[in-house]
Symmetry: C2
Subunit: 481 residues, 2 copies
């Protein structure tokens, strides 16, 4: 018997055996999971409990604590194993009272929302002339006198999020560097019904004055620029009570289904349990949380136990610090090499279209192209199980804020993808509420995610074993969401 095993091993080393395609191997199980997911409105009920019952949940708020306790209870209800809270210290930014109005050429309230991390204004606020620019280059081209002592308005139309969000993140320091007294950014989104969108601005640079930063609605940004184009002097008063208090204790929430054969190998799937302090964090990222929980609940309910451990992790503080994701990755230490995949859902729960795989870059960018090609082909086999849902697209360049620290350590990152047709209309605004989640599409998202994570956790060989150096620090795209 030993001789035969050795012989087999030698043959495998020469030419790997043809493996059964994953879609034929897993079709009956996928059908059960898809059928069960489409039959149940349990995820929507959970979304309503989280968003209607608890509300928004910014880091440091009592609502976030309640949401974390609720999620742990829900995982226990679902009979997940090792349900636990992982302590994380998180920033505590508080908005305080805030308002802004145009005082010249005519008085008009502005629809504004302070940006996360921003300092407040001095008591009584700031009143200054506005200088409007459409790009970093336009600000750079202005003489000092045109900027110093003024409020910079970044009036940049939305193209793609990763492009336009730079004015929200980098704009504050850029304006401060030119002597501006405040920074206003046009809401980062394609459409507005006079609704401002918040989000983090960049960390203040120590060498520069810390100036307050806020978003204004698209309507108000465009109006101010239109007035300036007509030669009017635009003057704005802004008052913000924002402040950053000492860090407070928060938690990642985790629960799992222990692997039946290789319990030390882990597939982790999740979203972020925190949200901004406006709206209800339904698409961002209540949806990602409830579909991750629901995927495990259904797998458990159908009596399935994958080969590897399947873990649901709801990370804390994604929105203004990403401390939960850092703490999770750090806590793994050398065991990070046992994470065979990290799946993140943080692009809303509109119509599911597929998954983007991130760590393939580790192969394609470096030397092991055949391995990358094999892994891509295997991922497409999983995708075929989801074609009936319209959710079978397999792409590359996946990533996400909460899996970025794992991906940096060489873990295969997998990003759940939806159409995002309206996602940025609602993102970080009062409009991110459960009515934006289509209950039928939510079920399909559950189905797609359940099949993907089950197969990743159960397939005979991991899709992409960690690269030789498990501590490789290949760049993984970190995204601000």
């Amino acid at each position: 018997m030993i001789g035969l095993a050795l012989l087999t091993a030698c043959v495998m080393a020469v030419a790997p055996p043809a493996r059964a395609p994953l879609d034929s191997l897993y079709r009956p199980t996928a059908e059960r999971l898809i059928g069960a997911a489409l039959a149940s409105d349990h995820a929507y009920l959970r979304l309503s409990q989280l968003c209607d019952g608890i509300g928004h949940r910014l880091s440091g708020s009592p609502e976030l604590d309640r949401a974390i306790a609720w999620a742990a209870n829900a995982m226990r209800e679902d009979r997940l194993e090792r349900v636990r809270l992982q302590p994380v210290m998180v920033p505590r930014w508080v908005r305080g009272a805030e308002h802004a109005e145009m005082v010249e050429p005519g008085p008009q309230a502005l629809a504004m929302m302070g940006l996360g991390r921003s300092v407040g204004t001095p008591p009584g606020g700031i009143t200054a002339d506005v200088v409007g620019v459409g790009s970093f280059a336009e600000l750079d081209s202005l003489p000092d006198a045109a900027v110093r002592g003024k409020i910079v308005l970044w009036d940049v139309p939305f193209t793609k999020y990763s492009e336009t969000v730079r004015y929200r993140t980098a704009g504050t320091n850029r304006a401060a560097a030119r002597g501006a007294v405040a920074s206003l950014v046009r809401t980062v989104g394609p459409a507005s019904l006079r609704s401002p969108h918040t989000g983090s601005t960049g960390t203040y640079v120590d060498s520069l004055p810390k100036i307050p930063a806020a978003a204004v609605s698209i309507e108000d940004a465009v109006m101010m620029r239109r007035l300036m184009a007509r030669g009017e002097r635009v003057r704005v008063h802004v008052e913000m009570g924002a402040s950053t208090l000492p860090d407070v204790l928060s938690h990642n929430v985790m629960g799992e289904i222990r692997g039946r054969e290789r319990p030390d190998e882990v597939v982790v799937v999740g979203g972020h349990i925190d949200s901004w302090d406006v709206g209800r964090g339904a698409q961002d990222d209540g949806g990602g949380c409830v579909i991750s929980m629901e995927a495990l609940r259904l797998i458990r309910q159908l009596g399935l136990r994958p080969r590897r451990t399947l873990r649901c992790a709801l990370w804390t503080n994604e929105e203004n610090g990403a401390r939960g994701a850092q703490a999770y990755a750090e806590s793994l230490g050398a065991f990070v090499g046992r994470h065979v995949a990290a799946v993140e859902s943080d692009g809303g729960v509109e119509r599911a279209v597929g998954f983007n795989f991130g760590a393939f870059r580790l192969g394609t960018d470096s030397t092991d192209a055949p391995r990358a090609a094999r892994a891509t082909a295997r991922a497409r086999e999983i995708g075929r199980l989801l074609e009936g849902l319209g959710a079978g697209q397999i792409g590359l360049d996946g990533g996400g804020t909460d899996i970025a620290p794992l991906m940096k350590k060489g873990v295969l990152g997998v990003e759940h993808r939806t159409t995002m047709e309206h996602y940025f209309d609602w993102h970080h605004s009062q409009a991110d509420t459960p009515d934006k989640v289509d209950p039928v599409e939510l079920r399909k998202n559950v189905a797609a995610l359940a099949v993907m994570v089950y197969v990743l956790a159960d397939m005979p060989e991991p899709l992409a074993p960690p690269p030789p150096a498990a501590t490789a620090t290949a760049a993984a795209p970190a995204r601000t969401r």
Copy 2:
């Protein structure tokens, strides 16, 4: 010579002569008007002056007075003739401070907006349980105990405006008749980013208690119904400082190009100069005003003077009383028979698609079908001049609040039509601002309207002469906008 004239008259009485098609008769003039309209951003500049410079303009507000003075000045600048203000007493409803919040099951601010004509709440507001219904029939089916002392929430999804708006207009009295203490209507519109839309509620019925009425955002209406569907008790506090003060003086604004041959015959074209007290009244109806003014300005600028008098009228108080339209029609007295057409633009200035003709119903509904068929065919000839703009559709059943009193007296009503793709997303809300107006589409609207009113005012025979009884009171569709 007399003999020949008599002979000709006799022949005409037997068989009317073939008339030259209007599109061949007017093509060169139409091309000049379209070319001039598409070359100029003057209408957009005017829209910005009105909406950015003056702002919203509810009946009785100083802004409406300023807008009326601005419009008269603009017409003088354009060298229109007989520029004048027509005095009209208008209602003066004032919103006052207002807010609402859900107090059970969990405290949450509601995005609300009181409805025009509503009374306020008693000082300290009203706190009551909410009963949610999806139709008049659903309210009717409830036992008294389920409604008495409660707040009725009309949670009716938007289908078409004329259908859904009934819950805003008729819902208040319907709720009062069942003993409710307030009426909340889900925002009448297809989409919301947590934006409530105001608008008039119906006149209070004297025999019923006058209860306050407000709109809530779609998000909040849906949330309350979702909570109730889960068995939660929903309780709301609403506070409104609304009141109706004594009527005040306002004005219709008019200017004209006097007809070169039949100056006593008139084609009137316009929109309403008032707006709600939120947003900037850009689509509703700043756009209709500026394109009407611009149509006459271009005709004048090209040195054209139509056969009949072409009048621009900007009516006051369309939104909460329609007193301007009534005063205009009444002031005509017996001369209303000299109005050969009344053209209204109050459906926004999205992509122009054509015109709907209303008074044809006078023919098709009654005995003079051949006359109606001839008039329709003539209107289609005008439409052909607009096909290159994509604005040549000629339909029936046109109407509008400001031309309804004229149509009731037998005047041909003509409704300017646009796609209205997003109109009701913005309508009566903070989002009705000039950025919603596409400058290129605005030019095309000017072009379409200028050609239509020029041809109507110049064509050898009126399109549809007043019916035999000039005082006929055939029903014309009045619309609430």
